[in-house]
């Protein structure tokens, strides 16, 4: 059969090329659509909130009047919250990942644990909020404190950090581990001196991205009792607190034309914090990639 010549094959060729172009356009359209939506979102937020942006907005506590309201309590609260989450979830998460990847026998129990951690990463955040309410607020009696909020958020991001750290560990070339074991190194020496250094960039990047998810979460904090109007910073980890998303949420739900403007300004600050965290993650990744 002639594949190269004849009217039929010319037609077939044209068809194939047309199809190729069609899919190219489709995929481009899908990408463009999400970019356009993102741009619209930014435009709306910035056009609405940028005018209100000032140093005062950052350092003022919330106030009953929109022109004096500021996000200071929310910003500091969010940062403190993230500090707790970072310490708790990265320590436990990385240790869990090391156990699962390096120590645990590859049997049914391990794969059961493994798939449940993955499932946990998909559980709605409100469920973690309810768990935190029961366990930290009532059973451990931490009350509606910064600590309860931080621990609840830690539970929420823990599975994400475990999965990210596991992937980072799995990407460490087997060669390197073999080299270490081949010299009579113990498992712990190999983990400490070969696996962790090689997996560190991946672990840090994954952790920061997980933390930036925590900083935007609202639902669990509503449940474990972050305050909406607060006029002082928490004096200890047992103090009451608020966080940026909570603050923004409370502004949006207030009546009047001016409060949405304040909320938009709050969103800008939240986005800036997120942007800073993601940039740090990207910088770390790039730095280590170049070194290897």
């Amino acid at each position: 059969m002639a594949l190269q010549t004849g009217e039929k094959s010319t037609k077939r060729m044209k068809n194939r090329i047309r199809k190729n172009k069609l899919f190219h356009t489709l995929f481009f359209g899908a990408t463009a659509l999400s970019l356009v939506i993102l741009a619209m979102l930014f435009y709306r937020i910035i056009s609405q909130g940028a005018g209100n942006l000032s140093w005062d907005f950052i350092k003022n506590f919330p106030a009953p009047y929109p022109d004096r309201a500021g996000i200071y309590a929310g910003l500091v609260g969010s940062l403190l919250l993230i500090a707790i989450v970072a310490v708790v979830s990265i320590t436990i998460g990385v240790a869990t990942a090391i156990y699962l990847e390096e120590y645990a026998k590859k049997n049914k129990l391990t794969s059961f644990i493994q798939s449940n951690i993955q499932n946990l990463a998909g559980v709605p955040s409100i469920v973690f909020g309810l768990l935190g309410l029961t366990f930290f607020v009532y059973i451990l009696n931490f009350d509606f404190s910064l600590l309860s909020g931080g621990l609840t958020m830690s539970l929420l991001v823990l599975p994400i950090i475990v999965v990210a750290a596991q992937e980072a560990i799995r990407s460490v070339p087997n060669d390197l581990k073999e080299a270490s074991y081949g010299m009579g190194a113990t498992k712990w020496q190999t983990v400490l001196r070969v696996v962790i250094p090689a997996a560190l960039p991946g672990m840090i990047t994954g952790s920061i991205l997980a933390l930036s998810r925590a900083i935007g979460e609202t639902a669990p904090l509503l449940v474990v009792g972050a305050a909406t109007a607060i006029y002082a910073l928490p004096d200890s980890i047992f103090g009451s607190y608020t966080a940026m998303p909570i603050q923004i949420y409370s502004w949006i739900s207030k009546p009047g034309d001016e409060w949405p403007v304040v909320a938009a300004t709050g969103i800008i600050i939240l986005l800036i914090v997120l942007l800073i965290m993601n940039t740090i993650a990207a910088l770390i990744r790039n730095k280590f990639q170049r070194r290897n």
């Binding site: 060669d175 073999e178 080299a179 270490s180 081949g182 010299m183 009579g184 190194a185 290897n292």
Partner: protein, 269 residues
């Protein structure tokens, strides 16, 4: 020490000469899960000798050499039976710590696998994990190991550079230096030149020859000329069994088994 050069010239004596064995393998069987990879392996490896293991891909030669320092057990489903005596102790004895075995039986791998660290830190790694901390001691070990691995002159001015800046052949000699730094008695080499160019290969073979004075060496190779060039004894593996094991010159000039002959003359494999 037995003078091996003399023995080789006069190789009918080699079996008669009483010499120490580093490894005595008896009735070794090995399974990956349900699949048996090694069948009833019996062979001894002499002190300060180079034992080559040849055979086609998948014949179990890599599996075998990795069994000698129990690296094969990094694959979770591995089961073994039989014994491997290393200097009078069975390496499978639970009292014989695998870390201890691997300190005495070092390994060089198929692909050069330096750590993403400096040249110095690569060689110092082994010493450090065995508890040597003083900079002065480490300096001595690093220099000695690099000299013994015939790479000192090439790297002495760039010890702080990343090991990945070296060529493939240099990396492999660095890996040998790293292995020498833990002062093993035996060095296992699993196709150490398969990723190297011909010139680097020759350099490495020369190095292997020189190392024989101080170490006993087991080398797996794909390359029959290499086995003929460097080794004292050669074992031919096929489908997980030893077909023939004898002095290298005998095996290559006058093989007993038809299959060995077919393999070394290039009729299969």
């Amino acid at each position: 020490m037995v003078n091996l050069t003399q023995l080789r010239e006069n190789n009918s004596n080699i079996e008669v000469a009483t010499k120490e064995n580093v490894f005595e393998v008896s009735n070794l069987n090995l399974w990956y899960g349900e699949d048996q990879a090694l069948y009833d392996i019996n062979m001894n490896m002499g002190k300060n000798e180079i034992t080559a293991i040849i055979g086609p891909s998948g014949c179990g030669k890599s599996t075998f050499i990795k069994t000698l320092n129990r690296m094969v057990e990094l694959v979770p489903s591995v089961k073994t039976s039989g014994t491997i005596k290393y200097k009078d102790s069975n390496i499978f004895d639970p009292k014989f710590a695998v870390e201890d075995l691997r300190t005495q039986v070092g390994m060089v791998f198929q692909k050069p696998n330096p750590f993403p660290k400096s040249i110095y830190d690569n060689v110092a790694y082994g010493a450090k994990i065995h508890g040597i901390k003083k900079k002065k001691d480490l300096d001595i070990i690093v220099e000695k190991s690099l000299r013994d691995a015939a790479i000192w002159d090439e790297v002495k001015d760039r010890l702080k550079e990343n090991a990945y800046s070296l060529s493939g052949g240099q990396q492999q000699r660095l890996c040998i230096a790293r292995c020498l730094a833990i002062e093993p008695d035996v060095i296992l080499m699993d196709e150490p030149t398969s990723a190297l160019d011909p010139i680097s290969t020759l350099k490495l073979e020369e190095l292997v020859q020189n190392l024989k004075e101080k170490y006993s060496i087991v080398i797996v190779t794909h390359n029959m000329q290499q086995a003929a060039r460097v080794s004292d004894k050669t074992a031919f593996f096929l489908n997980g069994e030893i077909v023939e094991f004898s002095n290298t010159d005998v095996l290559f000039s006058n093989p007993e088994d038809k299959r060995t002959e077919d393999y070394i003359t290039g009729r299969f494999g």
